[in-house]
Symmetry: C2
Subunit: 258 residues, 2 copies
DNA sequence: CGATGTCTTGACGCTTCTCAACGATCGTGG
DNA sequence: CCACGATCGTTGAGAAGCGTCAAGACATCG
């Protein structure tokens, strides 16, 4: 909440927006939007940078689809409340990624989006987005691709859950998160998890104790270094192997007695 | 393969198409398309009704995104080959549902689509679809919704897998499939599974023996009647309860000793 | 300094996986 | 027509991974 002092109904500073939008999934649409600056100003698109305190909700189940959001800083989790009280975590969204696509089909959000830490998101009104690409077939196709890709992440999630044991799931999770954090920057072995063990557990379909134990085991095996939510990848090769990387001959299962 | 004698490059019989397209997810786009009959004829859109023999592949991993498919008859499964040899089933697609949206993001298919029985699909060229909605904002928004919804199904899949035990997953699976078969028709207690126990298992993240045992248990409890792939729902209420329907007070767990 | 939330570690029981054998169904060929 | 193999489904026994319950360590904050 340092530089978000612009009034909510004042158009955004585009040069600032552009500078901080490099890893953004929707960047090309913003660039395109600048070409119609008048339209944008009139509709107030791209101006809404909402600061979210930790624990605040971006939307709730049942809310009408008003906008698609891009995470600018911080991290967001999407959670669905199941009938039996336990809610499961559908995804984590780091800077540059989309939130809110779950409402595309019905027009209403099925899940809720909660900030894992103080975060900033860029809300792009859905109506404006649909109109923006009208008359631009190439841009329209790109938008379909971006939306399809955003909704696609459920499939990689499924692959983490189906017939994989705890350590495999945890390894896949860490690699996936590391890769997504690196998308916009340089490669780093260090990850700082924005979510609790319980959130990880409900994302991976495990008990939180199992997640804790799994991380400890990977730590003892010198594959990663765990210090609370600070995690350093010490042996990327072995971590990838655990996550299911192809290694037909050298089939060396993890020593589980440790 | 009874009435598919139309040559592959001859435009489809629209009146026939319309009659059999009532449960179709993309129906409104077909109707819209009729308004531009010349365009459609010229491009050969909607004319490609490909008969698929059981076991035939609609597309393979790596194939370029050429078309989005709607299942007209039969059933299709989408499978992704994981690195470690085991492949997991991402979804089953029954008449009226979309196949092929996994390629929206990258432009290439990530998984393969295999016919579970002799099937017919309607292939709609992707390029034509994107152009079709150009200049029609409402239609464009609907297309985004349909695509988003199609890609959305991964999230309901995730909810079947996360922290649910075998019987719950099987109950959810049966109810979901029954509902989807009924989408275009009347309510029926009878389901004929188009897929093997192994396919169900790899969809639900279970061993095939566990699926078989689960079905047997539900059979013994008189909740369903199982005869091979013929399944009849005898007690929909209890089945829904098992699948996680809200029933706070009457919390009666399944007797597992039977 | 105590309270609270978060994470770790231990022990035990149970669901589920694995290995294995058997039965049913179907199509093929003699 | 029946034997035969192949595919598919069922059932059993044992082992193992994971969930549950429980206690304790650690950090943060009022």
């Amino acid at each position: 909440m340092t530089d978000s002092r612009s009034a909510p109904d004042v158009p955004a500073d585009f040069s600032l927006l552009r500078r901080s939008c490099e890893p953004c999934t929707l960047r090309e649409f913003c660039v395109q939007a600048e070409l119609r600056l008048d339209d944008v100003r009139r509709r107030g698109m791209f101006g809404r940078r909402e600061p979210l305190a930790r624990g605040a909700r971006l939307f709730r189940p049942g809310d009408a689809l008003a906008a698609v959001y891009v995470v600018r800083s911080g991290a967001i989790k999407t959670v669905v409340n199941t009938a039996d009280g336990e809610d499961c975590v559908l995804g984590f969204h780091v800077p540059g990624e989309l939130v809110g696509l779950d409402a595309l089909a019905s027009g209403r959000h099925e899940c809720e989006a909660i900030a894992l830490m103080d975060s900033q998101v860029c809300g792009i009104p859905y109506s404006g987005l649909a109109e923006l690409t009208t008359g631009a077939p190439g841009l329209n196709r790109r938008l379909l691709g971006v939306f399809g890709g955003g909704a696609q992440c459920g499939q990689s999630h499924v692959q983490m859950l189906v017939r994989r044991q705890a350590d495999e799931r945890i390894a896949m999770f860490l690699l996936d998160l590391q890769q997504r954090y690196q998308r916009g920057g340089e490669e780093r072995a260090q990850i700082v998890l924005p979510m609790s063990r319980e959130d990880v557990a409900r994302y991976l379909g495990l008990a939180l104790e199992t997640v804790s134990r799994g991380l400890s085991r990977l730590h003892d095996l010198r594959i990663i270094a765990v210090a609370g939510r600070q995690i350093e990848v010490l042996d990327p090769v072995q971590l990838a192997q655990l996550a299911g990387a192809p290694d037909p001959d050298h089939d060396q299962p993890l020593d589980r007695r440790a």
